[in-house]
Structures are given as structure tokens and as C-alpha cells.
Subunit: 150 residues, 2 copies
């Protein structure tokens, strides 16, 4: 990365690892250490929009069809223990099990995958839109009640 | 990409699309249009080495455990219609079916996935090492008998 010519190579782009997303973006954002890097990712309420409207908010060119955002898990989305991720026309439905994000042998975060369905739960029609939602682990969140995810 | 600050973002790295690998690297290489970009990827005979020795040849830092090389499909690896991809200690075994790489509605190349097995075919023990081998389509290769793949 100390070679400036590298940056002009075709194929050089924003393609962060899970670990970077947690350590370099999510943690600074949550702890009030916003900086020129974290400010590159827009903060939006994912559920206020339909998935096809989201790319217009992104400010970093990425690979294929992939975009990055912060979104607050506001209290109004909570319903008992589960979170309501409904949009006007559909909803984001979790799929599979959450995966641990490890760094130096420790769990630093979790990653959940959600698929957009048109309609209303428990019905609804699956689509090709997918979100990978990142969160920090409970131990970390405990000190910082504001939760932010991608 | 015209914003220089982007390049200093954590997570900015070499992460080419399939289309870029074919159009910006493989085609120039095959057609004698080697340039400062293509010269970044080492040319090695993949089968002269074991997979755990390959990373030391790479000259571009990439995401996780991913490296890029050119390798010639030399005639001596050909055995009838199939290619012999044996190393000293094992062999690269194709898995699944080859995938088309599209650009502007046209097939510009193919992608084959191979898994390294320790031992000798048809026996051998599967490992976690995987190669994605890119080649241009026949129409293109016809003009340029030298074949190069990643």
C-alpha cells in the first residue's frame, strides 16, 4: 500500500474485509470517533427506502453491485426481541445463522444476511437483493448503546 | 476513482472483477501488449510449485488469502483433450462446470475452479486450496495460440 502506482491498477477499489468493516468503520462510528474514513459511508435508515433506491446514496465506487452504509437500529424498529425491518413495499428477512467475525482469535463482531422480500411477512416474494448486516459484539455494544450496522 | 483521498481508505485494495481480469490483464498479456499493469502479475508455472509456496510470488497485496498470477498452459501439460495439472506432491482437480464471463452481452472468457488434492489422481485428498482459472474464449484464442490463465 506504500506504492502509489498500485492505486492506478485496473481492479483497485474499495473491497474491505469483515474485520476492517468492524474495526475501521463501525467501531469508530459507534464510539463517536467519526473521521474522514467513516464519513465516506452514508448514514441512512435502510428501511425508509426500497433496495433499488439505495445505490444512489453510496459515495464510494465498489465492485459489481455492492454498496456500504451505516444504519441505526433505532428503537422504533424493535418489536419484542426481534427487529422489524419492513419497508413500504416489502421487508428484509434474515436467512441462515449469524456468523462470527474474528480478529486475533477473538470475536469482534457478527454478520447477518437478510434477503429482501416484496409484500408482508410471513408471506412475501423473495428477491435478489441481499444485505449483510454487521454489528459489534455485545461486550462492546454494552458500553455504547447506539448500534450501527451496515 | 478520480478522488485521490479514496485510495487511502481502509479497505481499498486490488479486487478485480472477472471482466477486468480478462480485458485489462489477460488479453493484453496474450496479445503482446504487456504493460505496467500486466507486469504487476507474476508469470509462473503454477504446477512447478505447491500451493503453499505460491503467495511468495505475488506482488500485489490483496484481500484475505487471494493472489493473482499468469500461467502458461504449455503443451507439455496437455494429455489428449484434458490438461494435466500435477505438482510434485499433488494435483489441481477441476470442480463444477466452467462459468461464462460476460461483457456487454458477449462471452469474453471462461472461469474454471480447481481444488488442490494431495496425492495422485484418481485418488488424493482434497484441501482448502482453490484456483480460479481464467481463459479467453476460443474465438479470441484462435488468433493467439499462447494461452495464459490465472
Amino acid at each position: 500500500m506504500d506504492d502509489p502506482d498500485l492505486h492506478s491498477l485496473p481492479g483497485f477499489r474499495f473491497s474491505p474485509t469483515d474485520e476492517e468493516l468492524i474495526d475501521d468503520y463501525l467501531k469508530p462510528k459507534i464510539t463517536g470517533n467519526d473521521n474522514k474514513n467513516t464519513r465516506r459511508l452514508p448514514v441512512i435508515d435502510i428501511c425508509k427506502y426500497e433496495p433499488w433506491d439505495l445505490p444512489s446514496f453510496a459515495r464510494i465506487p465498489t465492485k459489481d453491485k455492492e454498496w456500504y452504509y451505516f444504519t441505526e437500529q433505532s428503537l422504533r424498529h424493535k418489536k419484542g426481541n426481534s427487529k422489524n425491518r419492513s419497508t413500504e413495499k416489502g421487508f428484509w428477512k434474515p436467512t441462515g445463522t449469524d456468523r462470527k467475525i474474528m480478529s486475533g482469535g477473538k470475536v469482534i463482531g457478527m454478520k447477518k444476511t437478510l434477503v429482501y422480500h416484496l409484500g408482508r411477512s410471513p408471506k412475501g416474494e423473495g428477491t435478489k437483493y441481499v444485505i449483510h448486516e454487521y454489528r459489534t459484539t455485545k461486550e462492546f455494544d454494552g458500553k455504547h448503546p447506539g448500534q450501527v450496522g451496515f
